[in-house]
């Protein structure tokens, strides 16, 4: 099973392979820069572990674990 963004721990990084999902959310995720071949890193997690802070392209994005699970990472 490929790793998803949701599987990463704070400090861990990866490269996006495929962005799942559909509709407005899917488009928004892409627009915000989470595209294939993008390097991402996890910044911190909210106290209850959700949502996550994703570091990409020089800025911070909040993303829920459920949505992060749609983003599949490349094999390292």
């Amino acid at each position: 099973m490929a790793k998803t963004l949701a599987d990463l721990m704070p400090g861990e990084g990866g490269t996006v392979a495929y962005v799942g999902g559909e509709g407005a959310l899917h488009r928004h995720i892409l627009d915000m820069g989470l595209t294939p071949r993008t390097r991402v890193k996890v910044g911190k997690l909210a106290p209850m572990g959700d949502p996550m802070e994703i570091l990409l392209r020089g800025y911070s994005l909040t993303l829920r674990k459920a949505d992060a699970a749609e983003i599949i990472l490349e094999e390292e």
Binding site: A24, R27, H28, D50, P51, G58, L63, R64, D67
Partner: protein
């Protein structure tokens, strides 16, 4: 000739600061027609449009006035990240540029965040409208140790790029100059080839197909073609393409998707970001060994997994302590004393001028007493707003939303709902407006329903007054109880609403976490000034009117003779009908009932009405005594406060709710339920509290 410029850019890019700087105080806030998206327009300052050309003898005044209007209107578009068809903000923005055809678009770009900001720029450049990029936050770029080659960036993008620092006002003259020039000479952005290979071919094939249709609709073929590739249904419909064309496009896309290994939306996004990667590499030099950003360092403490919640609680408590604790009350008392002085001065003046007695009564016991009672709380409200504004502008509120997302989701809401609710502590109306940032109708309505539970600033005078009269030692405690109580009721209502009216889940939560920024004095000052001005206007219009009405109803009987007793007056009769409803709650007097009713007009009226009805001066000991008369026990006061906390919000809030929820029925239902809930809760407080001897 009057020019229109549009200002576009990401959220958190300093757009508001820039807009304020460019337009000064002449702004007008309204609505984009048909949608609940806020629209700000203003007149551009510092431009020399139309003034440069004239040479020769001075023109006669008459001639000069005959010259056309040389104003430049600046329209602030909503903060957006892209031009997709999915959100109202994006649609409103792109429609404005493509259909209203402004003379130029100023695109503010956060230089510390180039890639994502330029993603929008690339799309704006497709719209065949003069475009100027304002590269903001250059000071922070320098601080980080990075360097941006503005000239090569400009060349790479095909548009003029002007470095600015909106906070300090640097570069603004140049920005205006470049924008004017671009508009006057109608300089269009250079055509960029963003895509390569298969995508390039496919895109051009599509453009070729729809060129004529696009031109016929006044759209740039490049824009239309790109959008069609992305699967933009709005553009598809707008172009009215025939079956054949649609089919061919479908084929082109299907083939491209297979070649690229991605689906259509991803293809364009990927192409743009890949292009931008190249541009950045050419034009930006990043600092070696960049130190951890200040924001990250701050977050390590503030957002620490264990500390985050306690720190947040502390922040909120601090806000309350400053506003309602010793410092806040000291300021409030000082201001109240000033007002009292003013009123007695006027009173003596009127007596000296031999004013007709009924007029004097109207002015002093009516208007001045009422308005004065409300005015007294200006400093408190301003202080509260100041603190909340600072928290928001600094970027902390975004983190609060991040923290609160999971708990909010348990209630069926979104972390995003958190910010409007916090604003509700200031005033329900902008909080209800703030709910526009919610992605879905359901979320919006749900959030709006809950905002009235966040005790608004107008209720503060009521709490403060009663605290002073009945619970002088436990001021802060009472405030905390009230505010927390409100929140508790919100939580309870939310759980109920979630299971009944608002099934399903909240919209997804994706949000940029902006860097921490020191709020600029100018921005905060402006917000405060707006709020203070708003408050004063309310005081001297609605509150004044309400006060006059109350005074009138109290002084005269239905036969328009002078009333000798309270019961005889019109007010007494009306109040007499309503008062019994409140008897089980412990405050079944005419005065209390009337105060509650006037509170529907504006919450501050509760205080002004009580002042007028008891015929006493604001903040005087007589008023305190009168209050004790109206509310026989501390428990009755507590019950009254509970009722005031929870019952329907003022008409202004109701009107806002009705408009934002887009349904008179649901707003009305919500308001009725609130009042019923208020009644029940106050009942419980009074009856159960009565069991424990207070």
């Amino acid at each position: 000739m009057q020019y229109v410029f549009a200002l576009a850019g990401n959220q958190n890019s300093g757009k508001t600061t820039l807009f304020n700087r460019l337009t000064g105080s002449n702004q007008h806030v309204g609505n984009w027609p048909g949608v609940t998206v806020e629209q700000k327009t203003g007149t551009l300052l510092h431009h020399h449009h139309g003034k440069s050309a004239h040479v020769g003898p001075p023109m006669l005044r008459r001639n000069r006035e005959a010259e056309e209007n040389n104003d430049v209107q600046l329209v602030d578009l909503p903060g957006i990240y892209s031009l997709s068809p999915y959100t109202m903000e994006e649609v409103v923005s792109r429609d404005f540029i493509t259909l209203q055809k402004p003379n130029a678009v100023i695109n503010i770009v956060d230089a510390t965040n180039l890639e994502r900001n330029l993603y929008l720029t690339l799309q704006l450049a497709e719209l065949e409208t003069p475009l100027v990029v304002a590269l903001n936050m250059m000071d922070e770029v320098n601080k980080q140790g990075d360097a941006i080659d503005v000239n090569s960036l400009s060349e790479a993008l095909g548009v003029p790029v002007v470095p600015i620092c909106a906070r300090n006002g640097d570069g603004l003259d140049e920005l205006v100059r470049q924008s004017m020039m671009a508009a006057e000479k109608h300089i269009l952005p250079g055509k960029l080839d963003i895509c390569s290979g298969d995508t390039h071919e496919a895109l051009h094939a599509i453009i070729h197909l729809i060129e004529d249709k696009a031109r016929a609709k006044g759209l740039s073929p490049r824009y239309a073609g790109t959008k069609l590739l992305e699967g933009d249904e709005k553009i598809e419909r707008l172009l009215e393409l025939d079956e054949g064309t649609l089919h061919i496009i479908g084929e082109i896309i299907a083939r491209l998707e297979k070649q690229a290994g991605m689906e259509r939306a991803a293809i364009m996004a990927d192409a743009r970001y890949t292009f931008l990667d190249g541009v950045i590499k050419k034009c930006v030099v990043k600092a070696q060994n960049a130190p951890e950003s200040p924001s990250a360092r701050i977050d390590r403490v503030l957002m620490h997994r264990a500390l985050a919640f306690p720190i947040f609680l502390l922040m909120m408590l601090l806000v309350f302590f400053i506003t309602f604790g010793p410092f806040g009350t000291w300021i409030a008392d000082g201001f109240a004393a000033l007002i009292k002085q003013g009123i007695s001065l006027i009173d003596r003046g009127l007596t000296a001028a031999n004013t007709a007695p009924w007029v004097q009564a109207l002015l002093v016991d009516g208007v001045l007493a009422g308005v004065g009672a409300v005015l007294e709380f200006l400093p408190t409200i301003v202080l509260l707003f100041l603190l909340l504004s600072i928290l928001e502008d600094s970027g902390y509120m975004a983190r609060a939303a991040f923290l609160m997302d999971k708990p909010m989701r348990k209630l069926g809401l979104n972390g995003r709902s958190f910010i409007p609710m916090i604003m509700g502590f200031g005033c329900t109306v902008p909080a209800v407006m703030g709910a526009r940032s919610m992605q879905s109708q359901r979320d919006r309505r749900f959030t709006i329903m809950l905002t009235p539970f966040m005790s608004c600033g107008a209720k503060v005078p009521i709490y403060a007054l009663f605290t002073r009269a009945f619970f002088p030692e436990q001021g802060v405690l009472v405030m905390c109880c009230l505010y927390l109580g409100g929140m508790l009721m919100a939580v309870i209502s939310a759980s109920v609403l979630k299971k009944t009216v608002f099934h399903g889940d909240a919209a997804p939560f994706i949000m940029e976490l902006p860097a921490y920024r020191l709020p600029t004095l100018a921005n905060v000052g402006r917000q405060l000034w707006d709020k203070a001005k708003d408050f004063l206007q309310r005081a001297f219009t609605i509150i004044l009117a309400a006060t006059v009405v109350v005074w009138f109803l109290q002084t005269y009987t239905f036969r328009l003779t002078l009333a000798d007793t309270m019961e005889e007056s019109m007010l007494g009769v009306i109040g007499g009908f309503i008062a019994p409803v409140f008897r089980p709650l412990g405050f079944g007097s005419v005065s209390a009932a009337t105060a509650v009713i006037t509170g529907v007009i504006a919450k501050e009226s509760v205080v002004s009405t009580l002042a007028v009805l008891s015929g006493t001066e604001v903040g005087s000991s007589q008023m305190m005594a009168a209050l004790h008369g109206i509310f026989p026990s501390n428990l009755a006061a507590a019950s009254f406060l509970t009722f005031v906390l929870l019952y329907m919000p003022c008409v202004a809030a109701f009107a806002a709710m009705r408009r934002e929820m887009q349904g008179r029925g649901i707003a009305l239902a919500s308001v009725c339920c609130q009042t019923a809930l208020a009644w029940l809760t106050a009942l419980l407080v009074y009856q159960i509290g009565g069991l424990f001897v207070f």
